[in-house]
Symmetry: C2
């Protein structure tokens, strides 16, 4: 195990530092039957680990997130994706907690993924990279947490795919986590969610610049396909109501319809912007792999579909947070998790927050979410003293 943190310059982001990174030589066994060796986990930490190493909070990122939860993104220069939640005095208070956030394996911000170099031939992995799963991602995170000398996390927190990872932590390592906060997520991906992901993947793979996944070798980039994928996905992140309120049928920089196929409506320009800016920061193959991991996620699968069996004997306390207008992971799916936990008498709070901002509410200014997470973590931390 090569454990010295180092700065990485991944294939896709040659000019950007990705924070800290650790490369493990011991293989990471994967659900597909293959293994990764060596593999790298890129991560950021915030705050200070206390003497008994009991104040560590792992934050898991969503599909297109990364380790820069509370610091500027090295490529875009934008603030961290959850600075409202994480920082000094914030609900996840870095004055009190040692916060860890790592890029998932399969990702494109320094952790081993399809855009990184396959040591067997020195070329980018591309589609030779193994299909990874949420449990695989969590297995890699566990290695990082061990590397940091932490036996038991105070909490694992995440929204969307981050919430899936939080649940997986409870399932895979029930003795290594005191508190679990899955936000705006589900214990399995629905048919509709798989469908939207497949549309995105098909859009990417339809782009000739994708080159059968070998675009890095050909010095191309399936930018159009990836932008279409992002545009389609983005619609699912916001509520119909929010789109109507924010954009409605308002025209973009014009007084009348153009009778052309250039964007007339603000909603069109907005989507184009979402697509274009995404392409600049994200790897298309990573998008394929991570969406696939989400599609494959079904926590109860190994327990004959009995979700409650996943949590049997689990001593962690759970705080499940859902948003009323989230139609990607609707409250009923979040509630299903709470019910399963109740069925095995686990400690669980369920909070359904009234919001019209859709799935992305978990990334936005939601005071009730902040208060909930703050209170829950305070409570979990009190147990320690």
């Amino acid at each position: 195990m090569t454990e010295a943190p180092r700065f990485l310059r991944p294939v896709t982001t040659p000019s950007a530092d990705v924070g800290m990174a650790v490369t493990f030589e011991a293989p990471l066994p994967l659900d597909c039957g293959r293994e990764l060796a060596p593999f790298t986990v890129a991560y950021m930490t915030y705050g200070t680990l206390n003497a008994d190493k009991s104040n560590a909070v792992l934050i898991c990122h969503a599909l297109t997130g990364d380790q820069f939860v509370a610091s500027d993104h090295p490529l875009t220069g934008k603030p961290g994706w959850w600075i409202t939640m994480v920082g000094p005095g914030k609900p996840i208070d870095t004055d009190r907690f040692f916060v860890i956030c790592s890029n998932v394996i399969g990702g494109c911000m320094g952790s081993t993924g399809p855009a990184e170099v396959d040591p067997s031939d020195g070329n980018p992995w591309g589609l030779n990279f193994p299909v990874v799963t949420i449990p695989d991602m969590v297995r890699a995170q566990k290695r990082l947490v061990e590397h940091l000398g932490i036996d038991k996390l105070l909490a694992v927190v995440g929204g969307s795919m981050g919430g899936m990872q939080a649940l997986q932590w409870a399932a895979s390592y029930p003795d290594c986590v005191r508190a679990v906060v899955p936000i705006a997520c589900a214990a399995r991906h629905s048919a509709q969610n798989i469908a939207f992901h497949e549309v995105g993947r098909q859009a990417i793979m339809a782009d000739p610049d994708w080159q059968g996944g070998e675009y890095l070798l050909h010095n191309t980039k399936p930018a159009k396909g990836l932008a279409v994928a992002r545009m389609a996905a983005h619609i699912t992140y916001v509520s119909e109501m929010a789109l109507q309120r924010k954009f409605g049928r308002a025209l973009q920089n014009r007084d009348a319809k153009s009778f052309q196929f250039t964007p007339d409506f603000q909603i069109e320009s907005y989507l184009h912007h979402q697509g274009a800016s995404f392409v600049d920061r994200f790897d298309a193959n990573s998008y394929l792999y991570i969406t696939r991991a989400m599609d494959y996620f079904d926590l109860a699968e190994e327990h004959g579909g009995q979700l409650s069996d996943v949590f049997r004997l689990n001593s962690a306390r759970f705080c499940i947070v859902a948003f009323t207008s989230d139609w990607l992971f609707p409250p009923v799916e979040n509630k299903r998790i709470a019910h399963a936990l109740n069925a095995v008498a686990a400690q669980v709070s369920f909070v359904e927050i009234k919001s019209d901002k859709g799935h992305d509410a978990f990334l936005l200014d939601e005071p009730e979410m902040f208060a909930t997470v703050r209170g829950f973590l305070n409570h979990a931390a009190q147990d320690l003293s």
Copy 2:
């Protein structure tokens, strides 16, 4: 006006007859300021026009529909798209009513559209075709109805974009229609609907085989882009619940996940099938034009946003039908139409049908819809005697 019905062989469907067609020499003025001359309307009729020409029912098709409402499709060989609704003894009873259904202008089944020949240069129109609107489509239908010698339609019936046309008939020609049946539609396209359409258009235009719209000249076809567009749209036609019930997370012809990017889940195979079969029957540019027409639709726009003003002095009776699980045109949008009609004391029935089949319910076996339409048309026909 060349009024003799003739059989057409459009550019895109060289081997298929498109039913009847009439070509008008007198120009069709368009909302964009341009005009079409000559222009052709391809159509089908069913049943017999009575002596006083009072039993004509115009059926308007949806985005990807056509004139083959109650007879086999010449390209696919499949039964008409609304044979449950239209035919002898059916709710729209061709033993009693003379049913007309025409392909919209901008379409690709024989009516003048982007795949037809531009008379100015002998090439397919492509993007030189003017951007048409729902009112333009209805203006062309009006010419057909006049050509058939009909002053006043007994009814105009349509679902989805067909419902938009039905509403537009009431707005444009209030004295020419006795009864209006807009099903599963809205008086305007929402921001979310525009967004999904723009994703589809971008997918088509991102396909290099689209060739800037001139694929027919280059003997190519943006099949991949059009398939992605159809896949994305198809998700919006069905409810989350129906997808979950029909497919859930079931795998397609395999016992375990493949850990590949080929379709593992039934929902993926189903979407692929939807995409592939659509490409065989539909023109990509028509898809651009017709989605644009829907996006542009906002019935109240010319009345300062006052929808009720559209229907002032309208003597037609209306029957508005909505489906509870339709999230493309949710009941609240259908209700808005009913409220606007109520506000001007128009004769209106509003029926919200409990269904979990989503938007496509209007094309499926929905006994309450059948009974509603049957009863409403019977009633409208009684007024005549």
